[in-house]
Symmetry: C2
Subunit: 453 residues, 2 copies
């Protein structure tokens, strides 16, 4: 039996899948925070090229992947689908476990799937520079690589505390040719205002977004890019699941349950949406899909489905999503990519409609799962990805208890080579679990009552 | 045109290639440092299992890869062969460039190819623990992973200065379950002696070897493992070149020149030996093979072919090799894997016989090449691997000047995700080139005159 199933470049999907076409309840529209009226494409034009705005509002089932984007995808795509024979042996449960591995991309995660597409559409419309924010640096690295492919300048506003504490990611972005600025910076009004109040501010993702958006809005040749949450971003990731479906066909298999971590929702969407098509169309009604969130940022399991801002500062449109409130402060855990207060509109609607399930897991269980996985499979997973592994182990144990056969597919969305300090802290006993009191959760949610239409 | 050529697991080679069978001048024997007499298998038995000793002295052309080793290889093998279309476009020269990429292995380099084999033969003979040394950590990581596959304990003695300054690699080894000790340690007589003289010793590869060897020699259930230099280690790597030959056949191509960095010689041997078979057998007489060394450790271009110790402390047998003298202190460059005073016996003999060529390149040229490569190909190379890229660029420029078509194959032996501080120092202008005076080179070489038989 093969340990991995590979596809030839000629078998790479040539279209992205847009789940909106198959959703029973279509996503609610984004609203203007002032008027509370639905936003139109023109409202987004200062920030995004029209090619992406059209995708954002599209209800077409399939959208062609431009040849130029396909050519760059082929640097690392199709990505391998692994049969987790080592982990299966260790768990000794009646399960078959498959995982799609996105860690072989230029930035080491699934993020370049959308970064390359976004850079392409910007280039096509003459954009000279793209601004973005990055926390731990995964998204910034992906966009830096993508911009290098099209000769676009890339300015990344990196949260100051990560800029200082996680220099590896910054250097990766520099290597791909991007300019990386610690945020808050003195390059924007938003940054200067923060620094005037607090010269030693360590920054936040919300501040970094404000800086990147401000610069894009001011200059017609500069646009802004986001690495998750938006519909077009999730759609670009669906190449993952389409490949996986073809690979599982070669293995003669189809999953009973699909598992992925959820930060904004793009890696879950990427793997699961092409499979959920069959559930929504009624041919695979029993297919389960589990989104795994950290217990320290439990928007899916303890948040509410409400309109909220996508950023902390309140500059974005209002989006209908499961949220903890945009002022919610998640606990400081190592899976930085999962520390986001809300879930994407598409994932939120699907969770509300019970197409998705959600579970929250503490970080100690996740790291324990990650260490088991590394020894059994030879891949050190990113802290975000260990959340999926932890749930896989739970599912396997459940199957063993029930004596039921199960086929599990999960998204190993990135490697952990640049996150080894997280594992070090785990081994050193410096990490702890964290749960929020109901009062803490209620407070940040209460603040957004006034935003509802 | 495909950007990469993949092989199915079923196409993975099932034998290692032993170049000794085809060498016109066979390698000279290792000598006992006291008697200056050739060593026999029994002399090596305290340190290595007999399965590996047999391979070390074998002259068989092919040796079967055990099924258990093949099964673990399949976690990451066959490795991809890339056509460097991005780099070709950038260089605009009449060259086709291919590279074999070993960075998708569990430790991120070619080292697990031999680590898994070595762990297997140790396990087969009942060994409970393997000791080894590691400098920057690539080899230690590979052996940690390999030992985890067979349930063998792994004790890694890591040079103190790397242990303190490069914590990522240490944590990777811990994640795979190894015990990592800063060397010099108080766990060995060798370590205690050093610490008694210098409590703040930052260690050296030579000291770490002494500690690992001492522990293996004392305990019948403990053996020692080495990550390069020895014949069996180089042979285990030949799966790389055998795969590459098959992949190039699919592309309808054969290289005019093969390029690899050379530290001890295992990654060059791995890629090149299966191709050099044809040169030695007379069917591809014009095939060139270039070993690239750092100018800061120029054993191939400025060293002498003499008997010398494999380690700094003088505990190993005497080996016939190109060497700068075992007390030579290489300049502090970032390609730690290339800072070794000697070259493996097999590579040395082939260089002496003009089957190989050698070139020394300064590190600034290498990092410049690495940055170009990252932008063009989307892979950030390990500092060691950038030496090959720099030579590829030289060959392409030469071909352009001469107006001659050329097909180049090189070994991208590892990624640089855990070496980003090297790139940071490069961008910050902290790196410099280094050349040695003739006097500096003569001194360390003069010390080994007395060792000659």
């Amino acid at each position: 039996m093969n340990r991995k199933i590979l596809l030839d470049e000629k078998e790479m999907p040539t279209q992205w899948y847009n789940i909106v076409a198959d959703m029973h309840n279509k996503p609610l529209p984004p609203l203007h925070p002032g008027t509370k009226q639905p936003l139109g494409p023109a409202d987004l034009a200062p920030l995004f090229p029209m090619g992406l705005i059209e995708q954002e509002v599209s209800a077409e089932r399939y959208i062609d992947i431009p040849q130029e984007v396909q050519d760059i995808y082929k640097i690392w795509r199709p990505s391998p689908l692994f049969r987790a024979t080592g982990l299966e042996k260790l768990l000794d449960a009646p399960v078959k476990i498959y995982y799609k591995y996105e860690g072989q991309s230029p930035s080491g995660s699934h993020k370049p799937n959308t970064a390359v597409a976004q850079a392409y559409y910007n280039k096509k419309e003459g954009v000279k520079r793209i601004t973005t924010e990055t926390g731990a640096g995964q998204w910034g690295t992906a966009l830096s690589f993508a911009c290098a492919q099209f000769g676009i300048e890339c300015d990344v506003y990196m949260v100051r505390i990560s800029y200082d504490q996680k220099p590896y990611r910054k250097v990766m972005m520099n290597t791909f040719g991007a300019n990386v600025y610690a945020s808050p910076s003195d390059r924007t009004q938003a940054g200067r205002d923060i620094l005037a109040k607090d010269p030693h501010s360590t920054g936040s993702l919300g501040i970094a977004i404000s800086e990147a958006v401000e610069l894009a809005a001011q200059d017609e040749h500069t646009k802004y890019a986001l690495g998750s949450v938006l519909n077009h971003v999730l759609m670009h990731q669906t190449i993952i699941g389409q490949e996986a479906e073809k690979q599982l066909e070669y293995a003669g298999d189809f999953p009973d349950v699909i598992i992925a971590p959820l930060g904004g929702g793009s890696n879950l969407a990427g793997l699961a949406f092409p499979f959920l098509k069959h559930k929504l169309q009624g041919t695979k009604k029993d297919l389960r899909c589990v989104a795994v969130e950290p217990a320290s940022c439990p928007k899916l399991t303890k948040g509410k489905f409400m309109y909220d801002f996508g950023d902390t500062a309140g500059y974005t449109p209002l989006l209908p999503m499961y949220t903890l409130g945009h002022n919610f402060k998640p606990a400081a855990i190592h899976a930085g990519g999962l520390r986001y207060h809300g879930a994407s509109v598409l994932c939120s609607q699907l969770l509300k409609d019970e197409v998705l399930e959600a579970v929250a897991i503490q970080q100690l269980e996740c790291f324990e799962a990650g260490v088991k996985f590394a020894k059994a499979e030879g891949i050190i997973a990113a802290p975000e990805a260990t959340h999926a592994i932890a749930q896989v182990i739970r599912e396997a144990e459940q199957a063993k208890k029930e004596g039921k056969q199960k086929t599990i597919l999960f998204n190993l969305c990135g490697h952990g080579f640049v996150d080894m300090m997280a594992y070090q802290d785990y081994f050193a006993g410096k990490l702890s679990d964290h749960s929020f009191t109901d009062e803490e959760l209620t407070h940040a949610l209460g603040e957004i009552d006034a935003l509802q239409p």
